[in-house]
C-alpha cells in the first residue's frame, strides 16, 4: 500500500495495486474480488460504496496525467468502479488493478470509502472488441457510463458505447465543431451527456427567466437577428445555445456555416420572417460566452443578456453528467437536431 499523490490533499488515501502483463479478463475479475476481500480483512472500517460502472475510453489526444487528475477529483467524491481502456502497441492485454480508499477526514467525511477499478492496455484489434474485455469486470446491477475524453475516438468507443446507459463527451473538445456535434448525434443524443451543453445550464436558466413575462415572449416573433459573442473555444456551446433558442422559439435553422470571423447562418420564424444568426468574437478576454443579443424589429431596444454569474465550469458539468446520467439532458436533442439541420448534416 502507498499514498496516492493524485488524490486531493483533504483525503488521506491508501492504495492497493496489482499489475499484470498478457492477462485474461476473467483472471482480472477474480483478482479484483480477491483484492477486495484482502482489503476488507484489514478492517479499515471503510464503506465499500459504488454507484456506477464508469468506463473510460480516451483518445490519443488525452494524456495519462490529465486523465488521472480528473479521475482523482472524481473518486474523492463519487466512488465508482472505473475501467479505463487505452491502446498500446503490443498485441496483448496488460492491466493494473487498484483499490483506493479515502479515510475519514474533513475532505471526505468521517466514514471514508473505497473504490476500485482497472486500467486495461490493449492493441487496437482487441479494443475493437472492448466490450468483451470489460463485461467480466463490471459490477452487476449498477448503471454503466462511458466517458469519452478528448476529441479523437478510441477504437474502443463503439463497442463500449453499446454497453453504456449513458455517454459523457465534450462536443467542444475538437476544433472541428461540426464533427464534434455529428459524433454526439451518431452516439445518440438521448444517451449523450454533452459537457458543452451542461456548461450552459445557467445560460438556459437566464434565458427562461428573461422570457417568463408574456410581453417579452411576444417579442420572439419579431426577432430579426441573434448574436452570440464567445471565445473561439466556446463555439460548440454557443452553437448549441443558438440551436436551442431557434428550436424552442419555433423557428427553423435554414443555413449555418463557418467563416473567418466565426459562424453565420439564417433561420425562418413561424410567420415566415427571416432571422439572421451570428457567432462573433468577444469584445473582451472573457473565456466563455460573453453575451447574447436578440435584435428586434420596429426599432425596439435589443434584448441583451450578459454571461450569467456562476456558469458551471468543466468540473461541475462533469459532475452533473454523472449525477444526472439517468435522464436525457432536457433540450439537448432538440438543439443538436436544429444545428445539424442548419449544417446540412442530416
Amino acid at each position: 500500500m502507498s499514498a496516492n499523490p493524485a488524490i486531493p490533499q483533504a483525503a488521506i488515501c491508501e492504495r492497493s495495486e496489482w499489475r499484470g502483463e498478457d492477462v485474461e479478463p476473467a483472471e482480472l475479475a477474480e483478482r479484483l474480488v480477491l483484492m477486495n476481500r484482502e482489503h476488507a480483512r484489514h478492517a479499515h472500517g471503510h464503506a465499500a460504496t459504488r454507484t456506477l460502472n464508469l468506463l473510460v475510453a480516451p483518445g490519443d489526444d488525452v494524456t495519462a496525467d490529465a486523465l488521472t487528475a480528473r479521475l482523482a477529483g472524481l473518486h474523492a467524491r463519487h466512488p465508482a468502479r472505473t475501467i479505463i481502456v487505452r491502446e498500446h502497441a503490443p498485441a496483448r492485454l496488460d492491466a493494473t488493478l487498484a483499490i483506493d480508499c479515502g479515510i475519514g477526514s474533513p475532505g471526505v467525511g468521517p466514514t471514508g470509502f473505497c473504490h476500485d477499478g482497472a486500467e486495461l492496455l490493449a492493441d487496437a484489434e482487441r479494443l475493437r472488441h472492448a466490450d468483451s474485455l470489460v463485461r467480466p469486470l463490471r459490477v452487476s446491477g449498477l448503471p454503466t457510463l462511458l466517458w469519452l475524453p478528448g476529441a479523437q475516438a478510441s477504437p474502443a468507443e463503439r463497442p463500449l458505447a453499446a454497453l453504456a446507459d449513458a455517454i459523457v463527451l465534450d462536443s467542444g473538445a475538437t476544433h472541428d465543431v461540426a464533427a464534434g456535434l455529428a459524433r454526439a448525434a451518431e452516439l445518440g443524443a438521448s444517451r449523450v451527456r454533452d459537457l458543452a451543453w451542461l456548461r450552459l445550464a445557467r445560460w438556459r436558466q437566464r434565458i427562461a427567466e428573461r422570457f417568463e413575462a408574456p410581453a417579452e415572449r411576444a417579442l420572439l416573433e419579431r426577432v430579426e437577428r441573434v448574436e452570440l459573442r464567445c471565445a473561439a473555444r466556446e463555439e460548440a456551446p454557443a452553437l448549441l445555445l443558438a440551436g436551442w433558442i431557434v428550436a424552442r422559439a419555433g423557428w427553423t435553422l435554414v443555413r449555418l456555416e463557418h467563416d473567418d470571423g466565426g459562424w453565420r447562418g439564417s433561420g425562418c420564424r413561424a410567420d415566415g420572417g427571416e432571422v439572421a444568426l451570428a457567432l462573433l468574437p468577444p469584445s473582451s478576454a472573457l473565456p466563455g460566452i460573453e453575451a447574447l443579443t436578440l435584435r428586434v424589429g420596429d426599432g425596439r431596444q435589443p434584448i441583451e443578456l450578459l454571461e450569467p454569474v456562476a456558469e458551471p465550469g468543466a468540473g461541475r458539468a462533469f459532475g452533473a453528467a454523472l449525477r444526472d446520467y439517468d435522464e436525457p439532458a432536457p433540450g439537448y436533442a432538440l438543439a443538436l437536431s436544429a444545428l445539424l439541420e442548419g449544417l446540412g448534416a442530416r
Binding site: 466512488p79 438556459r204 427562461a208 408574456p214 415572449r217 454523472l322
Partner: protein, 513 residues
C-alpha cells in the same frame, strides 16, 4: 404575432432543471446578529455562487442606528468568508456587494418602516421593474408581531404589491397560548400563505429524504405501521453546552428548544399519512393531522427532565449547567428532556414514540431509529440464539444517511447470529455536496414553495402536546423527581437515570449513543 398572442407558456422553461426565483429583495431584520452572520449571509452567497439567485437580487439590511453601508458590507464579507460553504471569490463578491443596502433606525419607530418602504420602491425604480420582497425576522421573538404590524402599516403586509413574504425564526411562542396570540397578531398583518416559519431541520437533506424514503420505496410501506413496528426513537443529542445563549436557553429549556419543534417535526414526518402529491399544503395537512393525533403528555409518567452537572467531554473538563456564564445558581431549567408519546390513529395505535434531547451528551447525533417487531416465531431459540431486532436508523446529522440492521449468521459450524448493517451515506454516494439547510430554505422561500416551512396549525398542535408538561414542570409543586425538578446527569453521559427508567417500564431501552 402581437403581444396579445404571445405563447401561453414560456417555451424555454421546459428545458431548465431548476427555475430561478423571480426578481427579489431580501430584507433582513437582525442583520448584524449571529444568525445572519453564520447562516443567512453565507446562504445568500452560496446561492449566488451556485447561480441560483435571480439577476435582480438585492439585500436590504435593517439595522439599529449607527450602522452604515460600508460597515455592514465589510461585516457581510467577513461573515461570508468565515462561514460560507463556497470560498469567497472576489469576482462574485463584486457582484453581491453593490446589491447590499442598509436602512438604520429603531425597530419600534414608524419612521424606520417608512424609510424601508421608500428604499424598496427606490430599488425597484432603479431596476425599472418591481421585485418581490422577503422580510427575514432574525430578531428576538418579542419583536415578531410588532415588526409584522409595522410592515403592514406601510403597505408591505397583506395584499402588498409587489408581493411580500414574512420569514420567521423559531421560537414561535413559548407555550400554546402565546403561539396562538402570535399567530393571530401576525395573521392580522400577513396572510398565512405569506408566512414562512422556519424550522431549519426541515431544510436538511436527510429530513427531506425521509419523505422520499417512505413514499418512493414501496417495500417499506407495508411495514410502516403498528403491525411491523415495535417502537420509534427520535434522538437529538448535542455534545455542546449552551455557549453564550444562557439568556435565551435558561428561559426556554430543552423541551421548548428542541422537542416542541425539531423533534416533533421529525415525528410528524415519520408518522404522517402519504400526501396525495408533494404540494406544500397537502404535505402540511398530513403533518398537522399526525401531530393532532398525538396524545397530550401526562407529566406524571410520560416524561423525564435532567440538567447536566460538571463532567468530561472529549477529554476536556466542562462545567455544570448552573456554573455556566449567565445561568442562575438555582436554575431549574432542563437541559435534557425525554418523553413517551402515543399516536391515537389506526396506523400507530400502541406504538410508542420516544423522543429525547440533551445538551452535553457524549456526542452530537440526530437520528430516527425505527425498531421492528421481532419475527413471530424464533426457530433458533432452542439453540440458545438471541436474534436482535431489525432496526432502521435515519441519521440526520452529522453523518447523513440510512442504515438497515438485520441479523446474519456468523460463518462457522455453530449457529451464531449477529446484527449487521447496510449503510447508505449521503456524502459518499452522491457527487454533490448537500446544500446547507438555510440555503435550501431561503431558496424555497424565494420561489414561494412553503412545503418545508411549518404552518400555524402545526405549530399550535406541537404546543398542545407539550403544554401540559410545561405547566407541570414550571407551575406545579415538586411531586416526584423528574417532575418537580430536573434530575442531574454528569456532562458526557447519556442523560439522567430516569430516562432509562422511562423505557425500562415498557421493557425497552434507548438505542446506544
Amino acid at each position: 404575432m402581437s403581444a396579445a398572442q404571445a405563447p401561453t407558456a414560456n417555451p424555454f422553461a421546459q428545458d431548465v432543471d431548476e427555475r430561478l426565483p423571480p426578481p427579489s429583495t431580501l430584507v433582513m431584520f437582525g442583520s448584524t446578529g449571529d444568525l445572519a452572520a453564520r447562516k443567512l449571509l453565507p446562504a445568500v452567497y452560496d446561492l449566488l455562487a451556485d447561480g441560483r439567485l435571480p439577476e435582480r437580487f438585492r439585500i436590504v439590511a435593517v439595522a439599529r442606528e449607527g450602522h452604515d453601508e460600508a460597515g455592514f458590507r465589510a461585516h457581510a464579507r467577513e461573515a461570508i468568508d468565515a462561514h460560507a460553504r463556497t470560498a469567497l471569490e472576489p469576482a462574485l463578491w463584486d457582484v453581491l456587494e453593490p446589491r447590499i443596502d442598509v436602512v438604520a433606525g429603531a425597530f419600534g419607530s414608524a419612521d424606520l418602516f417608512r424609510a424601508l418602504a421608500e428604499r424598496l420602491d427606490a430599488g425597484d425604480r432603479d431596476d425599472g421593474a418591481p421585485s418581490q420582497r422577503l422580510f427575514y425576522l432574525a430578531v428576538s421573538p418579542d419583536l415578531f408581531a410588532g415588526i409584522a404590524q409595522a410592515l403592514h402599516d406601510v403597505g408591505l403586509g397583506r395584499d402588498a404589491d409587489p408581493p411580500t413574504r414574512l420569514l420567521v425564526e423559531k421560537p414561535f411562542g413559548h407555550d400554546l397560548a402565546s403561539a396562538q396570540e402570535l399567530n393571530a397578531r401576525i395573521g392580522a398583518a400577513f396572510d398565512e400563505r405569506q408566512v414562512f416559519r422556519i424550522d431549519h431541520y426541515l431544510g436538511k437533506e436527510t429530513v427531506q429524504n425521509l419523505l422520499v424514503f417512505r413514499f418512493a420505496n414501496g417495500i417499506f410501506e407495508p411495514l410502516w405501521n403498528r403491525t411491523a413496528i415495535d417502537q420509534v426513537q427520535i434522538t437529538v443529542a448535542e455534545d455542546l453546552g449552551i455557549g453564550r445563549r444562557a439568556g435565551y436557553y435558561d428561559k426556554a429549556g430543552a423541551l421548548r428548544d428542541v422537542i416542541q419543534n425539531h423533534a416533533l417535526q421529525l415525528l410528524s414526518l415519520v408518522a404522517m399519512e402519504p400526501p396525495a402529491s408533494f404540494e406544500a399544503d397537502l404535505v402540511r395537512d398530513e403533518k398537522a393531522k399526525a401531530l393532532e393525533a398525538v396524545r397530550p403528555l401526562d407529566p406524571a409518567c410520560d416524561a423525564v427532565r435532567g440538567q447536566y452537572t460538571a463532567g468530561w467531554i472529549g477529554g476536556e473538563a466542562v462545567p455544570g449547567y448552573r456554573e455556566e456564564e449567565g445561568v442562575p445558581d438555582t436554575s431549574p431549567t432542563e437541559t435534557y428532556a425525554a418523553v413517551r408519546l402515543g399516536i391515537d390513529n389506526w396506523r400507530w395505535a400502541g406504538v410508542p414514540f420516544y423522543l429525547r434531547t440533551g445538551k452535553r451528551l457524549p456526542l452530537r447525533a440526530t437520528e430516527i431509529a425505527i425498531a421492528f417487531a421481532p419475527a413471530p416465531h424464533q426457530p433458533f431459540r432452542r439453540l440458545g440464539v438471541t436474534v436482535p431486532a431489525n432496526e432502521l436508523v435515519i441519521s440526520v446529522q452529522p453523518n447523513e444517511g440510512v442504515t438497515l440492521q438485520f441479523a446474519a449468521k456468523v460463518p462457522g459450524s455453530k449457529m451464531r447470529v449477529r446484527p449487521v448493517q447496510m449503510d447508505f451515506q449521503y456524502g459518499s454516494t452522491f457527487l454533490r455536496e448537500s446544500p446547507e439547510a438555510y440555503e435550501r430554505l431561503l431558496h424555497d422561500a424565494l420561489l414561494g414553495d412553503a412545503t418545508l416551512f411549518t404552518r400555524a396549525d402545526e405549530v399550535e398542535a406541537a404546543w398542545r402536546i407539550v403544554d401540559p408538561l410545561l405547566a407541570a414542570w414550571e407551575g406545579a409543586p415538586p411531586a416526584k423527581p423528574g417532575v418537580g425538578e430536573p434530575q442531574p446527569y454528569p456532562a458526557g453521559t447519556v442523560g439522567p437515570p430516569g430516562a432509562d427508567e422511562l423505557l425500562a417500564a415498557d421493557g425497552r431501552a434507548w438505542r446506544k449513543l
